[in-house]
């Protein structure tokens, strides 16, 4: 079973924490620091799920998600958005661009793990 999780976030601490908890929970973690790298890795590595922070350089999380959904190779990979606020508008935007779920920061590491598990179970 594919247990690769692509983590797209420009913040070093967030990547380190999420990588540790996800690996601890038996996932394999790929990291990207900006939107462009995220899209490239998704295409090359075919992860089971993408954790996409929305405020990232070069290509922001929303556009990167759109790019993934527009490409036949990556369109079926579920994307979980990581947003700065839990506003209804953020939720709506996440659905609009094609995300399957969204988590508002700050998010507890264990919550990330359970969300990833839930999404994969549904898939």
């Amino acid at each position: 079973m594919n247990r690769r999780v692509l983590l797209v976030d420009d913040d070093l601490d967030t990547r380190a924490i999420f990588r540790a908890i996800l690996e601890h929970s038996g996932f394999c973690v790929l990291e990207a620091v900006d939107g462009e790298e995220g899209v490239r890795l998704a295409r090359d590595e075919n992860p089971a799920v993408v954790l996409m922070d929305v405020s990232i350089p070069k290509l922001d999380g929303w556009d990167a998600t759109r790019a993934l959904k527009a490409d036949a190779v990556t369109s079926s990979i579920p994307v979980i958005a990581l947003t700065a606020h839990a506003l209804p508008s953020d939720r709506q935007k996440a659905l609009d661009v094609g995300c399957v779920a969204f988590l508002a920061k700050p998010v507890e590491p264990l919550e990330v793990v359970s969300e990833v598990r839930r999404v994969l179970a549904r898939e």
């Binding site: 913040d11 601490d13 967030t14 924490i17 540790a20 908890i21 601890h24 920061k105 700050p106 507890e108 590491p109 264990l110």
Partner: protein, 987 residues
């Protein structure tokens, strides 16, 4: 006259003091007002409490200290006129209110009768335009108002008397005018040909009183020998003026007990009785009476009465002459008819006696003599009748017109050729020279010739004969036969003599025209080619005409003086109105440039100037910059847009010398600024005035006006300029302060926004690493890095708690910054208080249970609904409850209750905690204020912003948050919110 008293015309002489309130706080204004010498009071608040009173105002109203009392209480009469409502309206309009009123309405008890004051109610505005008080100013306007009333009144009297020859009707009208203006009663009594006194007219504002007066007159006719009153005035020709009628006078003047009782009941206070005199004959008397306490005539009233009497006498005399001439003509015609009948009878007798020659001849001679005699009698009678007709016509003519030059010309036409071949009138000018004002001869050619002669040979004031002598002596001159030697003596050269001989001076007479004892001209009649000879009868007729002509001249002069006074008063009131307008326009102006525009625009209008400009002096006081200009040619305006301050130029000099520079004529320029005159000539703007605008003690600007051609600056212009300058300077200063203040405010707002943005950015920056800390703690706690000891876990939980506190604090700072910056929008919903409180139980339940606190929620028996944002209200209540939990020790209790307030709903959160010290009650809502180290134990930190945010949220929804507390017993936080049902009522 009554209307005038009520009018709200602006006072002519006292433009309001424009109060500049921006820099002055209420205590400063109060102190300022109290120091003023004039009558000024400061009114504040909805009740218009007198909060300061000048010494002038205190003495004006007399009595107790007005301070602290309502204005309406100090002046009950004013209150009845609705003035408090006007004052209240002034708070909304900000427009000053002014006018004139009789002084009785001020309520001063000790002031004499018939005084007036001007009032101005001026709003005082705070910088934002909010009116916070009213300056009430009062000026004694008695002299001006009474002069205006008298002038107007005498004007009406003159008009009425000139309008009709039916003198009884016109005198009735005069008495009715008098009781509107000066007196309660007015009567005119006439001495008729039989020597009895007849009351022509009596007036009182109340018709019932007039009927009473007529009844009294019938029962008690005037006793011609009475020792007082009209009868004595008519007998002696001397006026009577009794300021205060003593009771003994009434006793003496009445006939019996009944009469005395009635007259006493009338309550007469004061009277004036003046004789009506025309042609040195007393025709009657005019009597004015006041009734009621404190209404006494004064010397002004006496003068007015004299003026009415003079005019009434002329009216009576004219009317009588007219009547007499009509009667005389009738009598003489009858006499002539009788003489003709007699002549016919005699002729018949002559025929009968034809036979007796001697007798016949004798009879014939006698008859012829009788016929001649009768013919002479008819001629004399006709001449006398002609004279009376002429006098009546002249009287009517002279009484009816106010352009005396035209009237005198018409008079000359009336006289020629009836009694003379020539008639001319000369008058003395103000400068003493003699001017021909009227001249008439039947032949226009000869009139022109005579005019030419007079023009070429001015009257020699030292001549022994003719008009010069009459002017000098005041005595009439009659020369029935003019000898050639007299012409030679009068002629100034041979050509003059030739003209005089050609005119044919055979016979002449000259009479003086005398106005109130002063000889102002000469009326001359000349007989020439008709061969007529002027005699004593012609002289007396001419004297009569002269008296009437003099009266006409006097009337015309008085009328002109009245017109002039009216004009001056009107232009003063016009100016004052303009100043009022300017003050109001200046109130609206908020920038120096707007102030300048108002001054230039209104100044040009009021002065009828052709151009104007306002030049501001630079801060270093070396140059001017023109901020507003109008009427100057573009190239002139451009050239002078800025110019240096140098002595020897009008605008600079006005500023340097701190005095207006006013240049009306080329001569004025030549005297002070000859070097500038060519420029001035080129621009065509000769008349020029600059006034310095002085703020505090510094000149800040020059306001200039230019006039096409030369300009006469009258006193009124100068006064207007000065006042405009004062108003402009104050408005300019106010505008500067206003600008400085709004700049400071903008800067403060910008600084505040920058602070908010900074805080907001800082919070974000702080939160990121804090979130990382939390994440790493979570990792460790989850055992990701391997198993931890109990001590390590305990340390981690302490790190976690510190991290939480710090994060909460940062979140609070961010919320507070957002609220302060107005970046939070509040929903507005109708919220059921019951549901709101029930929702709290859910959240708070575990917390309360954990600490072992008792809790009760009471939403009241009646359904309550508040208006607001449900999430924000919950946030506030949870904050209050969290605090209550934090600060209440185990075993205590917390209660939430709701109730309807007067126009809102209050929700109370009460605890039995440690309470808040009194000195902290005010400051606990301030950001970052902790109740005190001693009161806060571990676990109770992090409340620095909670209450500040809660109060801001409550206020943001139109409510408030307050606190009551007893130290050691507990606290009660009271959240007030708009009642949703009340709020919807208002919408």
């Amino acid at each position: 006259v009554r209307q005038f008293r009520e009018t709200d015309e602006p006072p002519a002489e006292h433009p309001p003091i424009p109060f500049v309130a921006i820099a002055a706080s209420p205590p400063d204004v109060r102190a300022f007002v109290a120091e003023l010498p004039s009558s000024v009071a400061l009114l504040e608040g909805p009740e218009h409490l007198v909060t300061a009173a000048s010494s002038g105002y205190r003495s004006l109203i007399g009595g107790d200290d007005p301070c602290g009392r309502r204005f309406a209480e100090v002046h009950p009469a004013i209150a009845q006129d609705g003035v408090p409502a006007l004052l209240t309206r002034l708070y909304l309009t900000g427009e000053p209110i002014s006018g004139t009123r009789p002084i009785e309405s001020l309520g001063g008890g000790t002031l004499p009768h018939r005084r007036f004051f001007d009032y101005v109610y001026q709003p005082i505005q705070a910088p934002g335009g909010r009116v916070w008080g009213i300056i009430a100013q009062f000026h004694d306007a008695t002299d001006r108002v009474r002069a205006e009333l008298e002038r107007e009144f005498l004007g009406m009297v003159t008009d009425v008397l000139a309008s009709s020859i039916d003198y009884e009707a016109t005198l009735t009208a005069v008495t009715e005018l008098a009781v509107q203006g000066t007196a309660d009663w007015c009567a005119i009594d006439e001495l008729d040909d039989e020597g009895t006194i007849r009351r022509i007219s009596v007036a009182h504002p109340d018709p019932k009183m007039v009927r009473l007066a007529h009844e009294l007159m019938e029962r008690y006719p005037v006793d011609a020998n009475a020792p007082h009153g009209a009868a004595r005035v008519i007998r002696t020709g001397e006026l009577e003026f009794v300021r205060e009628i003593p009771d003994e006078l009434i006793i003496k003047a009445t006939r019996d007990e009944e009469h005395l009782r009635i007259v006493r009941a009338l309550g007469l206070t004061s009277y004036i009785s003046v004789p009506l005199i025309a042609r040195d004959r007393v025709l009657g008397a005019l009597t004015l009476v006041t009734s009621g306490p404190a209404k006494r005539f004064d010397d002004r009233d006496l003068r007015v009465a004299g003026e009415i009497a003079r005019r009434a006498a002329v009216a009576i005399d004219n009317a009588r002459l007219h009547r007499e001439s009509e009667q005389a003509r009738g009598r003489l015609e009858e006499q002539a008819i009788q003489l003709e009948v007699q002549a016919e009878e005699l002729l018949a007798t002559q025929a009968e006696l034809e036979l007796s020659n001697d007798e016949l001849q004798h009879a014939n001679a006698e008859l012829e003599e009788r016929i001649a005699e009768s013919e002479r009698a008819v001629a004399v009678a006709n001449a006398a009748s002609d004279r009376l007709v002429l006098l009546a016509e002249a009287g009517a003519l002279l009484g009816s017109q106010l352009d005396y030059q035209a009237t005198l010309n018409e008079l000359a036409q009336l006289v020629v050729p009836r009694i003379a071949d020539w008639c001319f009138v000369e008058m003395v000018d103000d400068d003493g020279s003699v001017e021909l004002v009227a001249l008439h001869h039947e032949d226009p050619g000869r009139t022109a010739l005579a005019r030419e002669a007079v023009g070429r040979y001015p009257v020699d004031r030292s001549a022994p004969h003719g008009s010069a002598a009459v002017l000098r002596t005041g005595e009439p001159e009659l020369v029935p036969e003019v000898p050639d030697t007299l012409l030679e003596a009068v002629a100034q050269d041979s050509r003059h003599l030739a003209i005089l001989r050609d005119v044919g001076f055979r016979s002449y007479l000259s009479v003086p025209l005398q106005v109130r004892g002063r000889i102002v001209g000469v009326l001359s009649l000349v007989a020439g080619e008709s061969g007529r000879r002027l005699g004593e009868a012609d002289l007396s007729l001419a004297q009569e005409l002269g008296r009437r002509a003099a009266l006409a001249i006097d009337n015309a002069w008085l009328y002109a003086a009245e017109n002039e006074a009216r004009h001056v008063a009107e232009s003063a009131s016009d100016r004052s109105r303009r100043l009022q307008e300017i003050a109001s326009a200046l109130n609206q102006a908020t920038t120096p440039s707007e102030v300048a525009d108002v001054c230039v625009f209104h100044g040009i209008e009021a002065l009828q100037a052709d151009a104007g400009s306002l030049a501001l002096l630079s801060d270093d006081r070396t140059a001017f910059e023109i901020v507003s200009t109008s009427g100057f040619a573009d190239e002139v305006a451009d050239r002078w847009r800025s110019f240096p301050l140098v002595p020897g130029k009008p605008v600079s000099d006005a500023v340097i010398l701190r005095t207006p520079v006013i240049l009306g004529t080329r001569a004025d320029w030549n005297a002070r600024y000859p070097h500038v005159l060519p420029d001035v000539e080129a621009a065509g703007t000769i008349g020029f005035a600059t006034i310095p605008l002085v703020v505090a003690t510094e000149v800040v600007a020059g306001l200039s006006f230019g006039f096409s051609g030369e300009k006469v600056f009258e006193d009124a212009d100068r006064r207007f300029l000065t006042t405009l300058g004062e108003q402009a300077a104050q408005a300019l200063e106010r505008a500067r302060l206003f600008e400085a203040e709004s700049q400071a405010r903008t800067e403060a707002e910008l600084a505040n926004r920058a602070k908010t943005d900074f805080l907001s950015a800082m919070s974000h920056e702080l939160r990121t690493p804090l979130n990382a800390i939390a994440g790493y703690i979570d990792l460790l706690e989850a055992g990701v890095r391997g198993p931890l000891s109990a001590q390590q876990l305990s340390d981690l939980s302490r790190i976690k708690r510190a991290q939480t506190i710090l994060l909460d604090l940062i979140n609070d700072i961010l919320s507070f910054a957002r609220i302060e910056a107005g970046r939070i929008e509040f929903g507005r919903e109708r919220i059921d208080v019951r549901e709101l409180l029930a929702g709290l139980d859910e959240v708070m339940g575990p917390l309360l249970a954990a600490k072992g606190l008792r809790y009760s929620g009471d939403a009241g028996s009646e359904p309550l609904f508040v208006s607001g944002d449900p999430e924000r209200i919950r946030q506030v209540l949870i904050n209050l409850l969290s605090n209550a939990v934090k600060f209440t020790d185990q075993g205590g209790s917390i209660a939430v209750s709701a109730a309807a307030g007067t126009d809102n709903v209050v929700i109370c959160v009460e605890d039995t905690g440690k309470g808040i010290p009194v000195e902290k009650l005010d400051s606990i809502f301030d950001p970052f204020v902790q109740v005190g180290r001693g009161y806060v134990s571990e676990g109770q930190q992090g409340v620095g912003l909670g209450l500040a945010i809660s109060r801001e949220l409550a206020r943001g929804m139109g409510g408030d948050l307050t606190v009551e507390s007893v130290l050691g017993e507990g606290s009660r936080f009271i959240l007030a919110l708009p009642n949703a049902d009340e709020a919807s009522d208002n919408e």
